[in-house]
């Protein structure tokens, strides 16, 4: 009960701010919280990044090993993305098998990388049909301050861009960078009382009901989208978010993901 009252109060508070054109942390509606990305923070991983996005904190580790390709793509490497909402990150996350939220987040991060063709999978082939590079991207969420999606996506790309193929250790040549050819960036928006806000905080996200994530590429094209949550959106809202997200992605890419 007391939780429900708290939730009502928070909703009123944020809603009233919004009417005045404000957000609880003083940001503009299209403004992101502070972002800090540190790479190569885990020396034992082939690539890694620690991302702070406001109060959200997560670590992405990339492990790379050799393995056998899929029968239907004998000349392509394999990407596997996993995301854990660790119980230390929030009182809401319990131990046990991954919740549907974690599965959804992992799959959207994965599709963002895969569908944007940001990694050149054919360059992950070592011997066609026999041996390819398997890239495991593991996202460990340590502190949930809202908008894990964008933080995870930033972290995954940052870790990949600064990672390497450990060819020497596997005795298949010299180490080399992971063959990247695009830099997809996820931008997530919520709608509250008719107003669109980017990078929702935990409170904003909890009252918004629905998020829309748009992943766009260097050329401004869209490589992934995901609506998550029970509230419907209108076409106008969606189109507005798409345009805002593509714009914001350019800014984030330039600021944080230039090689």
């Amino acid at each position: 009960m007391s939780n429900e009252i708290m939730s009502e109060l928070r909703k009123d508070y944020i809603y009233n701010l919004m009417i005045k054109g404000e957000r609880e942390d003083g940001r503009k509606f299209d403004e992101y919280r502070d972002i800090k990305i540190d790479t190569n923070v885990i020396e034992k991983a082939e690539g890694s990044a620690r991302v702070r996005l406001g109060d959200t904190l997560l670590v992405v580790g990339v492990k790379i090993q050799t393995g056998t390709p899929f029968p239907d793509t004998p000349d392509k490497g394999v990407i596997i993305t996993n995301l854990e909402l660790l119980p230390l990150a929030s009182p809401m996350f319990e131990s046990g098998p991954p919740r549907e939220d974690a599965v959804e987040l992992a799959r959207v991060v994965d599709r963002g990388i895969r569908e944007s063709e940001s990694i050149d999978l054919s360059k992950l082939c070592i011997t066609a049909g026999e041996k390819v590079w398997m890239v495991f991207i593991d996202v460990h969420v340590l502190d949930d301050g809202g908008n894990i999606m964008d933080a995870a996506s930033l972290g995954a790309i940052a870790a990949l861009m600064t990672g390497k193929l450990p060819a020497k250790r596997f005795d298949v040549g010299e180490d080399s960078p992971i063959p990247m050819r695009d830099v997809p960036v996820a931008v997530t928006a919520v709608e509250i009382g008719g107003t669109i806000m980017l990078d929702p905080s935990l409170n904003e996200q909890s009252i918004a009901g629905t998020k829309l994530t748009v992943i766009s590429n260097q050329d401004g094209g869209i490589s992934g989208m995901q609506k998550s949550g029970v509230n419907p959106l209108t076409t106008e809202q969606i189109n507005y978010i798409v345009d805002a997200a593509i714009e914001k992605a350019k800014e984030l890419r330039q600021k944080f993901l230039e090689i």
Partner: protein, 260 residues
């Protein structure tokens, strides 16, 4: 050297036995004879199951799905109850034999995600607050899959909810739009899904509210907007068929009751 093939192959339907066609659209006509903005044939049967409170069999091209609804009913386990509304649960499941390469039974990550977004596609139209502390359970079984199972499942589930007498603001209709050979096309078939450039399933209420939206692949901002309009038109067509099927059942109970 390790092999994760085992893990992965249960995740996504594999394309092992297929060969990429040279062209997917020739002279403005798709390989299965459709125009770019044309849906595959749809076949709907309402109330096909006896035990379920509501049910629907839905064919969408070569997709064959069946949806059943139970509820409002008691919630187990208890701690999942909500004190002010019903809890809606959605379970999407693919039969092992529904795809070319046998799928291992049981849920995988893909079906968990599909279940989540499909549930969220339907929740907005259900009057959940009418049934506090109870559950509305939706089960979607894919008997044959051919690209578009999640939209087929939502279309079927929407009808099964109505058939179960669950109070709803409206039906929900769903279909995908995609890009193949640089052309936007409605309702991708399997080949178009495998070899196309983008796939975007949506679900919509009759008044145009979007309740599901996902996208994979490559679309420019303009293509996206155009595609969204095309998908909306497809949803409206489907909505008419859904209404017709429900009407048919309730006008001529004798015909529609038992034979599939």
């Amino acid at each position: 050297m390790i092999c994760v093939y085992e893990i992965i192959k249960n995740e996504e339907e594999k394309r092992k036995f297929m060969v990429k066609p040279e062209k997917l659209i020739e002279n403005g006509i798709r390989l299965d004879g459709r125009k770019p903005d044309e849906l595959r044939p749809i076949k709907i049967k309402v109330g096909v199951l006896n035990r379920a409170d509501g049910s629907c069999y839905f064919e969408f091209g070569a997709n064959k799905v069946i949806a059943a609804v139970y509820g409002p009913r008691e919630v187990h386990p208890r701690h999942m109850q909500k004190s002010t509304s019903a809890v809606v649960r959605y379970k999407y499941n693919m039969a092992s034999f529904s795809v070319e390469e046998r799928k291992r039974p049981g849920p995988d990550r893909r079906s968990i995600e599909v279940s989540k977004v499909s549930r969220e596609a339907l929740e907005p139209v259900i009057f959940q607050e009418y049934f506090p502390r109870s559950a509305i359970d939706i089960f979607v079984e894919v008997l044959q899959a051919d690209a578009g199972t999640r939209t087929a499942g939502i279309n079927a589930a929407s009808i099964a909810l109505a058939d179960a007498g669950i109070p709803m603001k409206s039906l929900v209709s769903a279909c995908a739009v995609g890009k193949v050979d640089d052309t936007l096309v409605l309702d991708l078939n399997k080949d178009e899904d495998n070899y196309g450039q983008a796939d975007m399933p949506i679900a919509m209420t009759p008044d145009g509210k979007i309740t599901l939206l996902q996208m994979d692949g490559h679309l420019s901002s303009d293509e996206f907007k155009e595609g969204l309009e095309m998908a909306k038109k497809g949803c409206l067509e489907i909505a008419q068929l859904q209404r017709a099927a429900l009407l048919e059942k309730y006008s001529s109970k004798i015909e529609g009751e038992s034979n599939e």
